[in-house]
């Protein structure tokens, strides 16, 4: 980490600063999406910058960069993401917002068949400097959380269907600090990168963020809490759940290490395998549903390449294979929490209730 900055920003503000700093540096960067500014074309009535995206991550950009570089779009994910692909092939560096990851069904071809494959199937002749930002995740049964009660089509964690696609980099920040650094790294990447931003973190998480521009490398996991006895592997908001569980476990004398995966594809196997080689135990914590999931992929890779270092079976803590329920009590039950992580660790050690 860069030397401690006293200044704290929210997760959304950190992303906003990342985009703003890069747009100042590079005139080919444009931002597109539904309501990325909001109130388009109403400047004559004094309305500018009405919305700024679900995490307010693009608020204020239009006043600095104007409507030519900050483009509100109609509701047309297939169309404007395709425009982003075409623009990235022809000299721009677009940042396209898909409001919620649940909406990728409306534009999946542009991600799966177009953006991710262009560089490869065209024999390397085109770069595709495209960033897709999208919000994901449940409120975890917390009624106070923004986006609360969003239900089965506005709360998902659909990164497994993205990480499955070769050629696409899939990034899930967990703090304001790494959100800024990963966003800048994604913008500077000459290939397509999709960033999944947790709604819960987006508006509630705050943390120290240096004012200067910096990158957090894509493709690197981070050990956020060193420990000796078990590795807890977290993704996005689940990293915070892992830290919460680790703090509780310490009281029982179990010293858990927490690895923040940060990039789902390409996955940093080395950091995870190295951690497991020391702790000899692994619990993977994932807010997505378990079948064909990132959690099980990580478990399979460690079983394949690190089996000899394991003293216990690998455990996964995930959402169940159900759609996301509306009622807060059911949503809380659906979303993995520290209690389930602690139970998994107890199962490994043969302790607890």
């Amino acid at each position: 980490m860069i030397a401690a900055a006293a200044r704290e920003l929210s997760f959304g503000q950190a992303i906003n600063e990342a985009i703003r700093q890069e747009m100042r540096r590079d005139p080919t960067i444009v931002v597109m999406g539904e309501d990325v500014a909001g109130g388009a074309g109403r400047t004559h009535l004094g309305f500018v910058d009405a919305w700024g995206g679900p995490l307010r991550a693009t608020r204020g950009l239009i006043t600095e960069f104007g409507p030519e570089r900050v483009l509100d779009t109609p509701i047309a994910e297939m169309g404007f993401l395709g425009a982003g692909v075409g623009a990235a092939m022809s000299g721009l560096r677009p940042i396209v917002e898909i409001m919620f990851v649940d909406l990728i069904g409306c534009c999946y071809d542009q991600i799966m068949n177009q953006a991710a494959k262009m560089h490869y199937m065209m024999g390397g002749q085109v770069d595709l400097p495209l960033v897709i930002r999208t919000a994901y995740g449940t409120r975890g049964g917390d009624n106070r959380t923004y986006g609360g009660g969003a239900g089965a089509q506005h709360s998902q964690t659909l990164y497994a269907v993205l990480a499955h696609i070769p050629g696409l980099k899939v990034v899930v920040p967990s703090t304001a600090y790494n959100a800024k650094g990963l966003t800048i790294a994604a913008i500077r990447d000459n290939g397509p990168v999709i960033i999944l931003e947790h709604k819960f973190l987006g508006l509630r998480a705050k943390g120290p963020v240096p004012e200067e521009s910096y990158t957090v490398p894509i493709g690197k996991a981070e050990i956020v809490r060193p420990g000796r006895d078990v590795t807890l592997c977290g993704i996005g908001r689940m990293t915070h759940i892992c830290v919460e569980a680790a703090n509780s476990l310490l009281a029982e004398g179990i010293d858990a290490e927490v690895v923040d995966v940060l990039t789902l594809s390409p996955l940093d196997e080395d950091t995870i395998l190295e951690s497991v080689s020391r702790t000899r135990r692994l619990v993977v914590v994932d807010e997505d549903t378990p079948t064909a999931s990132v959690a099980r992929d990580i478990a399979a890779r460690v079983a394949d390449k690190g089996f000899d270092n394991l003293d216990a079976p690998i455990k996964t803590v995930t959402a169940p294979d159900t759609p996301i329920p509306f009622a807060a009590v059911l949503e809380a039950q659906y979303t993995p929490g520290a209690v389930q992580v602690i139970s998994a660790v107890h199962a490994i050690f043969g302790t607890g209730a």
């Binding site: 030519e68 395709g82 075409g86 623009a87 071809d109 262009m118 002749q125 070769p166 000459n190």
Partner: protein, 341 residues
């Protein structure tokens, strides 16, 4: 015949120059020669992968590309060989790509359905119907933001009129006044589904009104008619007045792809009637009737094209196959060291 061209609601003020007329003839016949040779290769068992012949539709690609500048962009469809050649992709590199050779336009990693050459403004053959239109919109947006005055032409078939991406692309181009020319090649069939079954209006051009853009239907077997319409649309685009839609009524002589039996869904009479309106033969006859060019010039072009395709096949056959390590290259864009720090 040249005077009878049914253009974009007006007769062209000027016909193309002699140089452009010869270029049109050369490109149309080169496409025909390429496709006929490819058909022969397929039928003699050369493994060139899945291909969709453009034969019959040559006037559409050539008429539009004759109205474009080399720096302009085009986005294409699965039936894209004609668009590639019209925009200037080298036939040697195309043929090598079909052979899956490392000298191909895409180093053997794309094949017929992905031929691309951004150096000549060819943004890609794209077999996911409708997607090319959205990419053309993106290239036009890029031209507008970067103030380059480039135009993007989007080729698509009448089958694409059924997919939502095309609607989204047209609406975006219209509201942002982007320099896009939408070119529908209405060849009557989406695979085996006839247009009159799948389209809610008589003509795709009728839909232009819904996007507040000009729309015209032209004879796609008449390269001058296509050219006239394209010149108007390109002028409008370059002047910042927004997109246009040109519907070219055309016909594909062969099946949807190399194995398709057309007689399961269209009559021999219909096919024969279409061939009587062959765009190349009509253009050649008209050029000679007008005295615009000499027969020896056209014969010379025909011979040169045969030689070009002979050479393209020889080049493809002699070229090396990709190496096993190539499977793993270009999955991600390599970051040039220090370039964007």
């Amino acid at each position: 015949m040249l005077q009878q061209s049914n253009g974009i609601g007006r007769l062209a003020q000027e016909l193309p120059s002699r140089e452009v007329l010869l270029w049109m003839y050369e490109r149309m016949t080169l496409i025909r020669e390429f496709e006929e040779r490819l058909k022969w290769l397929v039928e003699t068992g050369v493994p060139v992968g899945a291909v969709h012949y453009y034969t019959g539709q040559e006037a559409c690609a050539v008429g539009v590309c004759a109205a474009l500048e080399p720096s302009d962009w085009i986005a294409s469809t699965h039936r894209g060989h004609g668009h590639c050649i019209a925009k200037g992709v080298e036939v040697q590199r195309m043929m090598a790509e079909l052979y899956g050779k490392s000298t191909g336009s895409n180093r053997g990693k794309g094949g017929s359905m992905h031929i691309t050459d951004v150096r000549v403004g060819m943004l890609g053959v794209n077999p996911i119907v409708g997607m090319g239109a959205t990419h053309a919109v993106g290239a036009a947006l890029s031209a507008k933001v970067r103030k380059t005055k480039q135009v993007a032409a989007s080729f698509f078939g009448e089958g694409a009129a059924g997919i939502g991406a095309l609607h989204e692309a047209m609406n975006l181009a219209a509201i942002w006044k982007l320099p896009v020319v939408f070119v529908c090649e209405n060849n009557g069939y989406a695979q085996s589904t006839p247009v009159e079954y799948a389209l809610s209006v008589p003509h795709i051009a009728d839909r232009a009104a819904a996007y507040n853009m000009p729309g015209v239907t032209v004879d796609g077997q008449d390269v001058i008619a296509v050219w006239e319409a394209a010149v108007s649309a390109v002028e409008r685009a370059r002047a910042g007045q927004g997109p246009s839609l040109i519907e070219c009524m055309t016909y594909r002589y062969y099946g949807h792809h190399q194995g398709d039996d057309t007689h399961r869904y269209r009559t021999k009479e219909e096919e024969e009637a279409a061939r009587r309106r062959d765009c190349i033969r009509r253009f050649r006859e008209n050029l000679l009737e007008q005295g615009a060019v000499r027969q020896e010039e056209l014969d010379g072009i025909d011979a040169a094209n045969r030689k070009k395709i002979d050479e393209a096949v020889a080049f493809a056959e002699a070229s090396p196959l990709p190496q096993p390590a190539d499977l793993f290259t270009d999955v991600y864009v390599a970051e040039p060291e220090g370039e964007r720090k």
